[in-house]
Symmetry: C2
């Protein structure tokens, strides 16, 4: 906190997380309590992050909020819920579980970004949600060889927002109910063990199965929800051909509520698979860098791999690949020049 | 049977059926016994049919079989099973349940084509399959207003055959198990009631839900199976927008193991919906007739319907529409000139 002229200001970066046991469906839409536990990998902030500056002053007469430089209405129930929680938090400073609760009130899965590495969001049992918390399963240093490739797909916006979509699923999908009650508890225990043992075969297989099952429950929703497109389907088929060729799980996909693919792999498999993706989805020659983030070595593809794995290429279908890895939780930014707000509490770009 | 020079010959046409409660998965792959009951509508043979001629003679020294004029190996286990059943049948002539069993041994869902109208294929309980039979729920005259539109979609072959696909589903999909054991028994009873009551709202809603759930279990299979494409997805979205505009279920889709859509509607809704499909998927100007089968009247689309229902058009994505309705079961062809085989037992085109 930088206190100058009665002003308290802090800037913080937070990571993105990607679930390997998926969250879909609330048992309480007001408190944002999930119908099942979920588990995610926190991605490194060197490649993907959000930056937030908070400023508090006795001189300020109202709460104001800017998202990506644009002012938004603080009257939204979720924003109100967060502001209320934060002000309560002032009295309980230092309790991490409370921070998890604040994040959850904003967007359920955001609570998993409160920690680095491998994070479980517990379903919890209590109606007040006090036991529906994010907990770290293993730190980001636990599995140093694990890598993540985000395949950013061209085009189409997601047709149904996740908040509305998951509620329709809870109300209409008999398969989602079975998944939440019977399938996920078993899978969560299995996934924790695969992570503890750094068992990529088990981890990758289960991540793919759980991604597919989440999208299956979207399709079982009425009216049905589709997040996977023909391009996602081509990526899925490519991963299965690639693994079949190698005789084991070298890469694994997972898809959230959108068509982008997230691929898990161990470091020594990245270069070859990136080259396979480049051959399958030849980049449009627009000068953009196709591979971004962590460096990727070059790989020569053996002829028998090409023959077994490549199908008809789909030029331009993948816009670019972001190469990253598991990373730490939220970071406080020390450098005051990084604050997004000025001393007047307004966005710097607007000051 | 036409007996000439010791030759017995019969020609028969058989209908196509489309399931509204889907069959997917066998509990016995040898006897072809399903994991759940299913229910279908038999389509009229004036628009879609198969024609089969059987010839038997003491002079013939071997079993031979031609499919679409091309000889196929009678050594295939399914062909053998059918020939064996048919020869047993000779001694039990006239028992319709036995015919159902013969058909089932060839291709499970084919047994539902043994009857016209609305047909249930009972799961059965006995390990020998003798109670896994097709039964007529209601004749084709039961619901005279019911119409069927087959939207034949361009391109792509189905990636995974249904025989291999459904077995992988039985082995890997936890959701399919739940569907077969818990969901289908309830839905089957509901669907029978909707049909008895000629309740299109209930019938259409449940047909759509069950189609979606079948495809959801395909996606929950590992590796996942996709039969729906982006075009199927556009058809599904169009149907939902169309029904939402009208405030009730005017049309309902169902998809089998391929991207073609089958649409149910009452007769008075056909012309308008066909026009909506024509605007959404403008036919390629190749001279082919876009609407085939039963005549379709013309419909003027009100401006507010167009605004509410049409999205960006996808030219050429639907090749043509076949308009048909429920029809009768297999028919014996009296006219000897229709026999596909000559007096020598060989295909006429080859004689």
């Amino acid at each position: 906190m930088a206190a100058e002229r009665g002003l308290a200001m802090a800037t913080c970066t937070a990571p993105v997380n990607i679930a390997v046991i998926k969250y879909w469906g609330k048992r309480d839409t007001d408190l944002i309590l999930p119908i099942n536990s979920s588990l995610s990998v926190t991605l490194h902030q060197d490649q993907l992050r959000t930056t937030t500056t908070a400023a508090a002053s006795r001189d300020f007469t109202e709460d104001r909020l800017w998202l990506n430089g644009k002012e938004v209405d603080v009257g939204h129930p979720r924003v109100q819920a967060c502001l209320r929680e934060v002000s309560a938090l002032a009295r309980l400073y230092g309790l991490e579980e409370e921070l998890s609760e604040v994040a959850r009130r904003g967007s359920g899965s955001a609570c998993r970004s409160m920690f680095g590495g491998f994070v479980q969001w517990q379903r919890g049992e209590r109606p007040d949600g006090t036991d529906s918390l994010a907990l770290q399963v293993a730190p980001e240093t636990h599995w140093p060889e694990l890598r993540v490739l985000v395949l950013v797909v061209s085009g189409e916006k997601k047709p149904v927002g996740s908040t509305a979509g998951m509620q329709t699923s809870v109300e209409t999908s008999p398969l989602l109910k079975h998944r939440a009650e019977v399938v996920v508890p078993e899978r969560l225990a299995q996934m924790m063990q695969h992570i503890q043992e750094r068992d990529f075969e088990g981890f990758g297989q289960l991540a793919m199965r759980d991604s597919n099952q989440f999208h299956a429950t979207c399709l079982d929703t009425f009216p049905p929800i589709f997040y996977l497109t023909d391009v996602s389907r081509h990526i899925i088929a490519l991963v299965h051909r690639y693994n079949a060729h190698h005789g084991h799980t070298k890469v694994a996909y997972t898809f959230d509520a959108g068509p982008n693919a997230v691929i898990f792999a161990l470091a020594d498999a990245v270069a070859e698979f990136v080259e396979v993706v480049r051959r399958s989805f030849p980049p449009a020659a627009n000068g953009d860098q196709f591979v971004r983030g962590l460096p990727v070595g070059s790989a020569a593809l053996p002829q028998e791999l090409l023959a077994a794995v490549l199908a008809e290429p789909l030029p331009g279908a993948v816009r670019y690949i972001l190469h990253t890895k598991p990373g730490p939780g939220p970071q406080l930014v020390d450098d005051p020049s990084q604050h997004l707000l000025g001393a007047d509490g307004l966005p710097r770009s607007r000051a």
